[in-house]
């Protein structure tokens, strides 16, 4: 079925100006979002390549594919690339950058030039990190634990530390921009209670970025100083305390998990509402649970240290606080599920990712209860159980959210539709491949296989083979969208302004939007998710009569 033909292309942010200069010096939040998209996609495939090598090494119990030192660098750089150069910027810097001004009805972010600066910081950090990789890499584990990182590793710890120090500032600036934009730039009538839940979750994320990231920056600087100038901060032989590092590191790095997962939750709320054609069940509870996660998330860091040698009583406190932060996450899952009740549900690709997200996030969340439980954590800490758990959250949750969001807003971003059939196939492959890769790791973990092992006892092999097999399916599932998104930019069907029949200001402007987003400033007189007033789209796929 053909959409309305557009004969002459409207002026939009993509065709407004041409040339490399118009991109590299742009202050348009939408163009900066695309700059980020290209950069993080590059790092995603770098990190993914490391992951595939890790899985291939683990196909056999003996360490036979790469050297032990190489393996240690692979898992270190896989973690650092994926966390600092892909996951943390993923939804905020790409979808958030593109959508926050559109959703609140603003012309741009509050500080457009700072927004461009944040991308340049990201690129400077990225270049330093790539130099670190090609000149030998780093082998400390993504966690930089001392005194190994400051006194024993012979690799490029300082380069990696500086790269991550700088990329942190790009994250801080993005957060700052969002907080100010959400406070100050909302269109007339866009009250706090009318904000899309995407904005609420992005707001919570930005708060964590602003408050948490400086602590990571300080910590990494101290590591660099101890290593370069022999200061005694963390190394006990120089009078330091290695546990102090762990406290400082996790003070940021636990909330960082919420920097990764809250934006995925942000996407879910929009997608579930659109494809059930309903207001999200319990809007206030979903909005406030984001804030609660951001606040409680700062109080649970030492649950990474139950066997590290902290006192018995502080372990009790951090365990109970960790259970408190689980409640708002549970609230969200229940509310998304309840939203489906008496909805009008269609199964387009973004919704398939949303189903996948809810399933995998639920499993990741439930296994988090095991790790917050003191008695169980002692056994499974630093085993593959932990690896499986956080991949369910960060890949099953955050990456599924990111991909779902990319499919949902792709028509708005590119002005073209992606091929729906391929989209569904890729979503299915990602879901199946993901579970095959990571579910066996829960069993491996309880069996006692420690993480970061280059070689392992033979009884763990069968489960590792399953995991490696799954990772190849997962890889195909990730390469497919990149191919068909690129394909659709040229050959995809032209998209309507609102192809999904979705609520939200971003769908009220053209696809792709003009440079200043709206031809005239929108005035909001309706609540979020007013789906009773928006007609469902003419279905691409046949609908039952």
């Amino acid at each position: 079925m053909a959409t309305a033909a557009i004969t002459t292309e409207r002026d939009n942010y993509l065709n407004h100006e041409y040339g490399i200069r118009s991109w590299l010096l742009t202050t348009d939040h939408k163009r900066i979002a695309l700059l980020y998209l290209a950069s993080i996609t590059f790092f995603f495939f770098v990190g993914g390549f490391f992951a595939l090598l890790i899985r291939l090494e683990l196909l056999t119990p003996a360490g036979d594919l790469v050297l032990a030192d190489t393996y240690n660098k692979l898992f270190t750089m896989h973690g650092q690339v994926m966390i600092f150069f892909f996951l943390i910027p993923s939804i905020p810097a790409v979808l958030g950058n593109f959508l926050v001004p559109l959703m609140v009805g603003a012309k741009d972010l509050a500080f457009p030039r700072i927004n461009l600066l944040s991308w340049y910081l990201y690129i400077i950090a990225g270049v330093i990190y790539v130099i670190c990789i090609v000149t030998g890499g780093v082998d400390t584990g993504w966690t930089f634990y001392t005194p190994f990182s400051t006194a024993f590793s012979n690799t490029k710890v300082i380069e990696a530390g500086i790269a991550i120090f700088i990329v942190g500032f790009s994250s801080i600036l993005t957060g700052l921009n969002f907080v100010v934009t959400i406070h100050r730039m909302r269109a007339p009538g866009m009250t706090w209670s009318r904000l899309p839940l995407f904005i609420w979750a992005m707001y919570a994320t930005s708060i964590i970025q602003l408050l948490g990231t400086p602590v990571l920056a300080i910590t990494l600087l101290l590591v660099v100083f101890e290593r370069a100038f022999n200061l005694g901060i963390f190394d006990p032989t120089r009078g330091g305390d290695p546990l102090l590092f762990q406290h400082l590191f996790w003070f940021y790095s636990h909330p960082a998990v919420y920097i990764m997962i809250l934006p995925a939750m942000a996407v879910e709320s929009e997608v579930v509402a659109c494809f059930t054609r309903k207001r999200i069940f319990g809007y206030n509870f979903v909005a406030m649970s984001s804030i609660a996660i951001a606040v409680f998330g700062f109080l649970v860091w030492a649950h990474h240290m139950f066997v590290a040698g902290i006192s018995l009583y502080s372990a009790l406190v951090f365990s109970i606080l960790s259970y408190l932060v689980a409640v708002p996450s549970a609230i969200k899952v229940f509310n998304w599920t309840a939203t489906m009740y008496k909805g009008s549900i269609s199964f387009d690709t973004p919704m398939l990712y949303a189903f996948g997200f809810i399933g995998l996030f639920t499993m990741g969340g439930l296994t988090g209860l095991f790790l917050a439980c003191l008695g169980i954590d002692v056994h499974v800490h630093d085993t593959y159980f932990v690896i499986a758990h956080f991949h369910y959250i960060m890949v099953g949750g955050a990456v599924m959210g990111y991909l779902g969001g990319m499919h949902f807003w792709w028509p708005k971003i590119s002005g073209r539709m992606y091929p729906e059939g391929w989209g569904r196939l890729a979503a299915l492959l990602v879901f199946v491949g993901f579970n095959l890769t990571f579910f066996p790791q829960f069993i491996l973990g309880y069996m006692g296989m420690p993480r970061r092992y280059w070689q392992y006892p033979p009884e763990f092999q069968v489960l590792n083979v399953l995991s490696t097999a799954g990772s190849t399916i997962l890889a195909v599932g990730y390469v497919l969208p990149m191919i068909y998104f690129l394909w659709s930019m040229r050959y995809g069907k032209l998209a309507d302004d609102n192809p999904w029949g979705a609520a939200g200001l971003e769908w009220k402007t053209s696809s792709p939007p003009p440079t200043f987003n709206f031809d005239e400033e929108p005035v909001v007189t309706w609540e979020a998710y007013n789906y009773e007033e928006i007609p469902a789209p003419l279905a691409e796929v046949p609908v039952e009569q």
Partner: protein, 322 residues
């Protein structure tokens, strides 16, 4: 049944059963929750799939439901927390009178020394049914002592002692892993725990050659380093009398009161100036860099052996940083 494909770890310690029980409870609870949520999604997705002419029914939400599904999980979480905390408390509190094994970790091996003086590398022999307390430190980076069959794990830190304990229940040979990433051969820092019947264990003890008990080597070191000139067993010494001091509270010159546990004794040897007991002058020389980890453990074992009865207080995790 699954020789090459085991799905459950061997259970070989007194504490392992409790942990497995809680784990099974959590697995069952999680499975139930998953089934409930997935079933709801499938049912809703089927019943409310989009049909022409059927509109979604707009529902605002329900505070009663929200409160219900907040309070009930919270209650369940608190049960899990308490259950886990009880296990952890038990795991972290070594029983009195446990046999002590000193562990020194280094890149990439485990060195273990029994009270009787037997030394082992990457192997630990223990009898069935005896409480064993591990007093561990590292010579370089952080390691972690992990025996999956016993469900115990404890990071091993440089510059202080951490402790763990277990009671083996089943003879056999079990994995000992380093579970905290420690450099190139982290995955090679593995060994085995051999659990033996008491009679066999006695035979193994008798078979080894030792230079005397750990406390005895500590004693000769104590004389050799000249400690005994000040730390005399009467009240005339320039340093405190160490007889019976282990496990007792000590009043320090700066007003603090600390328990004289392994970490305190270690700190006193390495940097005495920061831990001067009240009534004494800071005249003791610093031994940082002069005594190695293994000599330190011998000295600690010797000072503990000066206690008249089997060591008094169980020293908890004993990981406070002074």
């Amino acid at each position: 049944m699954f020789d090459n494909f085991p799905l459950w770890p061997i259970r070989a310690s007194a504490g392992a059963g409790n942990i497995d029980a809680l784990y099974i409870f959590l697995v069952a609870l999680s499975a139930l929750m998953c089934v409930a949520i997935f079933a709801m999604i499938v049912v809703f997705a089927t019943m409310y799939r989009r049909r022409r002419g059927v509109e979604a029914e707009q529902i605002e939400g329900s505070s009663a439901l929200e409160i219900t599904w907040s309070i009930i999980p919270l209650g369940i979480f608190m049960i899990i927390f308490l259950w886990g905390a009880v296990i952890y408390f038990h795991e972290r509190t070594p029983p009195r009178g446990a046999a002590e094994v000193y562990v020194v970790a280094k890149q990439w091996m485990w060195k273990l020394e029994h009270e009787e003086g037997q030394r082992e590398i990457n192997e630990l022999h223990v009898p069935v049914g005896r409480d064993v307390k591990l007093i561990m430190t590292s010579q370089d980076v952080i390691h972690s002592f992990y025996i999956p069959a016993f469900r115990i794990k404890q990071d091993v830190l440089p510059g202080r002692y951490t402790t763990a304990w277990f009671r083996a229940t089943k003879p056999g040979t079990y994995h000992l892993f380093c579970s905290q990433y420690c450099g190139t051969m982290h995955s090679g820092m593995i060994g085995q725990v051999v659990v033996m019947e008491p009679a066999q264990y006695q035979a193994w003890l008798a078979g080894g050659t030792t230079t005397g008990s750990l406390a005895a080597s500590g004693d000769s070191l104590f004389q050799q380093l000249g400690c005994s000139t000040c730390h005399r067993s009467d009240t005339q010494g320039r340093g405190p009398n160490l007889v019976g001091i282990f496990g007792r509270p000590v009043h320090l010159e700066d007003g603090r009161t600390v328990i004289a546990d392994e970490n305190y004794i270690r700190q006193c040897i390495l940097s005495p100036g920061t831990n001067v007991p009240s009534g004494f002058k800071p005249i003791m020389p610093v031994f940082q860099g002069l005594v190695g980890e293994e000599q330190l453990t011998a000295l600690v074992a010797y000072i503990k052996s000066l206690n008249p009865s089997p060591s008094g207080a169980a020293s908890g995790t004993g990981t406070q940083n002074p």
